[in-house]
Amino acid sequence: MLAPNSRERLVVIGNGMAGCRAVEEILARDPDRYSVTIFGAEPYVNYNRIMLSPVLAGEKSFDDIIINSAAWYADNGIDLVSGDPVIAIDRAERTVTAQSGRTVGYDRLLIATGSDPFIIPVPGKDLPGVISFRDMKDVDAMLAAAEGGGDAVVIGGGLLGLEAAHGLSLRGMNVTVLHLMSTLMERQLDEAAGWLLKTELESRGQTILTGADTAAIVGDGKVEGVLLKDGRTIPASLVVMAVGIKPSVALARAAGLAVGRGIQVDDHMVTSDPAVLAVGECVEHDGNVYGLVAPLWEMCRALADGLVEQPSGYRGSVTSTKLKVSGIDVFSAGDFSGGEGAEDIVLRDASRGVYKRVVVRDDRIVGAVLYGDTADGGWYFDLLKKSEDIGAIRDVLIFGQAFASGGGQADPKAAVAALSDDAEICGCNGVSKRKVVASIEGGACTLDAVRATCKASASCGSCTGIVEQLLALTLDDYDGERVAKTICKCSSFTHDDVRREIVAQDMKSIPEVMQRLSWSTPDGCSSCRPALNYYLLCAQPGVYVDDQQSRFVNERMHANIQKDGTYSVVPRMWGGLTNPRELRAIADVVEKYDAPMVKVTGGQRLDIFGIKKEDLPAVWADLNAAGMVSGHAYGKSLRTVKTCVGSEWCRFGTQDSTGLGVKVEQMSWGSWMPHKFKIAVSGCPRNCAEATIKDFGIVCVDSGYELHVGGNGGIKVRATDFLCKVATERQAMDHCAAFIQLYREEAWYLERTAPWIERVGIEHIRQRIVEDEVGREALTSRFLYSQSFSQDDPWAERAAGKDREQHAHLGEFRPLVLEAAE
């Protein structure tokens, strides 16, 4: 045994998690090799930093989270210098000097200085009351602030920020979380899990603002609030900044060690100076820096191996994350961003609030996000780290370890067969397997029949797959059905199911629909997103916030994209009427913006071609100035109302078809619909406006107005069905509004009136619009109500600067300079 004074001198800078663990690992291998001195900036013994969250939340005390008490240092002959940070390293002399002036020599130096919280450089960041969340001192400051209650703002909706918010809200503060990104914990969670988390935190009384960009922290002598870039101010007497960390490298850099994002080390944690090692969050290994503890344990092992025994080498870490907020189970690991060849396996259970997503590439798990049920997190993580081939259990992987390792149950049908008779199949309606089987045996041989008899799969529908398997197990000749087209490959629901459930469950956002209706993809596809956006818009007028990114380019740009990427612009000409002022404005626009073509459309108005996306707002402003608004030639919405000259001029005209057309267009423009919608009003049965190939056609006759529906002049020509005849203009308009609303509420997205009517039958339409007078009035007033939110000219909003970025480049790159567009 070496006498203490003849041992090598190991000096450790940083009495945190990595520094002390490294010493533990070394002692475990050879307790007599080194005489150890540890410098710590904090005035404490080594404690478990990750448990600061439970301390803040009141679930633990400081004593509970001490890892190594004073006795440990004494027993192992370690000299702890706490509350005295090292301020310089002299590598030539091999000494370190602390703030107190104390200088200690070393044979080996270990730097384990951890990270510093990142402070966003906004005005007011230094005001009293602005703190970070890194050490015990910060927790003490938060606890002191929370004593008085009041408002707290946490900037940063990542792991740390949410744990701080949780703690502060348990301590009685009124907490608002400001998060720059649209999804909470976006590094760890996808949109679906982020939405669940946000919903849960909001239900616990926190306010969560996503997309919130901090402009300044305001206050006179102390914090009073946070000003956002959008102009809002959130009051706060305490602001916690938890926006990220950066490796603490100042000391190492000053000592001339190689430093990139962190202190650069090799596989044995040795820095560019062989006598100096580094470990923990302050290091950069193989280009990576880490912010979690698991990698530190692996680093400390490699370090001790290299220092004392056989070098083993550190190879980098794959990390997994959990959130330490009681009652919320979140797990994430690996890469879940998808990409080439990646396949998502998604399981959602709305009644239990569960979302599970495993990302698989080449039969290997590459990532996982779990919300609500994280029991299998460890198992997935293990398979991921070992890069195990999961081909054989792929179909049942998502059900978890217990299920997947159940031997012969790799067949989902076998798994269903193995369920006990009492097993609950339909959570919404509390239907057991026994009941489902009984109703199938009792003659319910289709999904719909099962739904009608025992209610299984009739509500949220997430058990539909299992019910189908029970049908297949019970009947010999059942080979699946659901002939009804599902909305897209992301869902097993039909359009009708989705529409019904959105209304029944009062759903208000796309992620909510996807969760409740068990979407099989994390964020849908280009088919279902626009459909859901429309269904929500239709079901929740004035409440639902339109999702621009779920719209096709034309509806997002309010113009029609052309094959060369430019746009065409079609202003509304009410009922096909125009005047010199409008014509002049159009002529001016054509010249001013060098439009290569202007053309009379088949819809009785003018189309200006070849406008660049940058020029659109200016073009619109010019057209607006002449009183013209968007013609929605791009929209799943009302296109044109074609008219003929009618009784005003025509010798055969029976009614004022032009005037009625203008009124109808003014009533119905701007409304979003399942598909485009065209109307025409002809002044007599000669029908010059072609009313009988329109979605809604009016043919004037001496005694009134004949109403026609479901015509189409497009790919498959279809003449209208006669709906009914009415006596007055008012009635004609009310019927028109009612018909549009029925179409809006019942048709599938991208289904025009012609195929819709062929599907549901004209009798259904007549019953709802003609026979059921009360129903018709209700439809009319629902249409007019929803119109009160949609008749804002989208061009005027854009011309005034709304969504300006849609029309501007982010920047311009010329070989030497790059200029921002705004």
Binding site: M181, D523, S550, L810
Partner: protein, 117 residues
Amino acid sequence: MNAFIGDWIDVGSIVEIPVRGARTIKTGNGEEIAIFRTSGEKVYALVNRCPHKHGPLSQGIVHGDAVACPLHNWRISLATGEALGEDKGCVPTIPVRVDAGRILISRMAMLATAAAA
């Protein structure tokens, strides 16, 4: 606002791109770079030209890590620039990374793009 960070060019803040959307950078020779932001908060940069008939990919619907071209609905992988499914074709990708909320794109690749086409 524009800064050079070694071989990376700072082209703006991530919040300037809508989630599941894209913004463009003009390169001076008529070519554009489309910078995408996905719902998983990943950022990708591609030449803004569909391999099919040159549709502006920046205007497509972004879902997962793919974009559906606005002209004829080809799906293009944002990670590799390759057409997915039955379609064949590929558009160049440009190295991009995000640091403290700033979008940085590779200067070399930008120069190459500006020189090509």
